[in-house]
Amino acid sequence: MGKATREAYGDALRDIGAEMKDIVVLDADLSKSTKTNVFAKAHPDRFFNVGIAEQNLMGTAAGLAAAGKIPFVSTFAMFAAGRAYEQVRNSICYPKLNVKIAATHAGLTVGEDGASHQAIEDISLMRTIPNMTVIVPADATEARKAVAFAAQYKGPVYLRLGRSSVPDIFGDSYEFEHGKAVELTDGKDLTIIATGIMVAPARKAAEELIEMGISARVLNIHTIKPIDKDAIIKAAKDTGAIVTCEEHSIIGGLGSAVAEVIVESIPVPLERVGVLDTFGESGKPDALLTKYHLTTADIVQAAKRVVGRK
């Protein structure tokens, strides 16, 4: 097992912050959990705790950006995208201010904290805002490279990070290309498109499908917005069926974004693996992923269904 994406974020922020002196980091009393404390330790003069006040977290970051700084702000995804939604929309995205929202503890794998803290709507909320870029890294390496990208990019970015450790997928030589899908394996019978922590089980599902005589292409879509339309259309043309996998509601997230692309260009059968319009609950991350149908086995089942619909 590799590191959690939030761990990679804290380390990357500390390192990039040493180079880029305009980076300022704000947190809302969760710096030990979001890992901004790693930055705070290295660069105490550029770290500000706003306390438990997420609306002000976003508003203050907007002001810093308006004055030329590059603020990274962190809290749990629930509060970043949920509680402070309107501040993100009106104070950050409308004026296209250079604020990076690194939201941790996204999805069900927050675990024991339960449904009140499990953001399964944040991709949907963030991708609907004009000027916003939405990135969901799959592992620690991709998270580190995505942080470096966000620091250089001019404009608002929503970076969705997880609490739990995830398997390493990419090596050090991996290059993050904004808005570009990453093909992990090629196949001809269907394409499995996954994001975030679902990339690892998607890859495993493809291996299991081979045993059953089904050949799956696997795409990692780390940039949900702007989404890689070309890669999705090509997948639909080449393989004729798609399964999407995300630790997020099936409403409004990756599955919806992929559906939007294919229905307007090349409609093919689609199955969405995700949280089925329901709240989560307390439990161990693995137990939650099993109960809410986000496992390798669920992806395999969806793949078989979608191939059957071709």
Partner: protein, 277 residues
């Protein structure tokens, strides 16, 4: 500038304020929508800021060392546009494009659209946080510029204002000066009846702010309060400005209905007559 304005300076600023009020009435009438009441109440504050205090240059609107102004009560956009036009950021004729399609003068200020707008606002409660962020950036960069913000009294009902107030007090942002345009009225009626934010000065004091109370239509008092604020170290300052909603137009004064209603063309002529020199 000196501690006190000369009588001549005050008189010139009063003329400017009258011109700004005429523009407000004209542009809201032409748009047939907008917020005249809370624009008129803030005219003297904006004119004093832009013509007697703030280091800003319309020819270099993005100067990182400039003083900055955040109109937290973004619906008072007409007073900001009219003041910026007086200052030379935009031609006066353009004021009549307010709220029309393709205009740079959006219903609420948009910094991407019009040079001179330091922050996009309109959704109440968010501006002071942005002002704090700017002030923090100035501190980090060791800039001596000052950040000004103007809030409505009804706006103080937004919880986020107090998150920002707590932040500025905690981080001792003495380069922030906020005004509260205390005209006593919000859309649905008197602030004390709708949802009382009173007592206002005590609340700010409790959050660690230096508080100055003034008559918000007395230019000498506005100027003096700003000068005092500049001398206060280790604390942000809030200037609670007692104002009259609709100030300058008899029929509009202290009438909540004029919060968000445009005058008819006939009313406009009458009101402009009243605002003549």
């Amino acid at each position: 500038m000196a501690e006190k304005l000369t009588a001549e300076q005050v008189s010139q600023l009063e003329d400017r304020a009258r011109a700004v009020r005429r523009s407000i009435v004209s542009m809201v009438t032409e748009a047939n929508s907008g917020h005249p009441g809370g624009s008129l109440s803030a005219a003297d504050i904006l004119v004093t800021l832009y013509f007697a205090e703030m280091k800003v240059d319309p020819k270099n609107p993005n100067d990182p060392d400039r003083d900055r102004f955040v109109l937290c009560k973004g619906h008072a956009a007409p007073v900001l546009y009219a003041t910026l036009a007086e200052k030379g950021y935009l031609p006066h004729e353009e004021l009549l494009t307010l709220r029309k399609i393709d205009s740079r003068l959006q219903g609420h200020p948009s910094m991407k659209d019009l040079p001179g707008i330091d922050m996009s606002t309109g959704s109440l409660g968010q501006g002071l946080s942005a002002a704090n962020g700017m002030a923090l950036a100035s501190r980090l960069d060791a800039r001596s510029n000052r950040i000004f913000a103007l809030l409505g009294d009804g706006e103080l009902e937004e919880g986020m204002v107090w998150e920002a107030a707590m932040f500025a007090g905690h981080y001792k942002l003495d380069n922030v000066t906020a005004f509260v345009d205390f005209n006593g009225l919000q859309i649905d009626g008197p602030v004390s009846e709708v949802m009382s934010p009173l007592p206002i000065p005590e609340k700010w004091r409790a959050f660690g702010w230096n508080v100055i109370e003034i008559d918000g239509h007395d230019i000498q008092a506005i100027y003096g309060a700003i000068q005092t604020a500049k001398t206060v170290k280790g604390q942000p300052t809030v200037i609670v400005a007692h104002t009259v909603k609709g100030k300058g137009v008899c029929q509009m004064e202290n009438v909540a209905d004029w919060h968000g209603k445009a005058p008819t063309k006939e009313e406009c002529q009458l009101f402009l007559g009243e605002l003549d020199d």
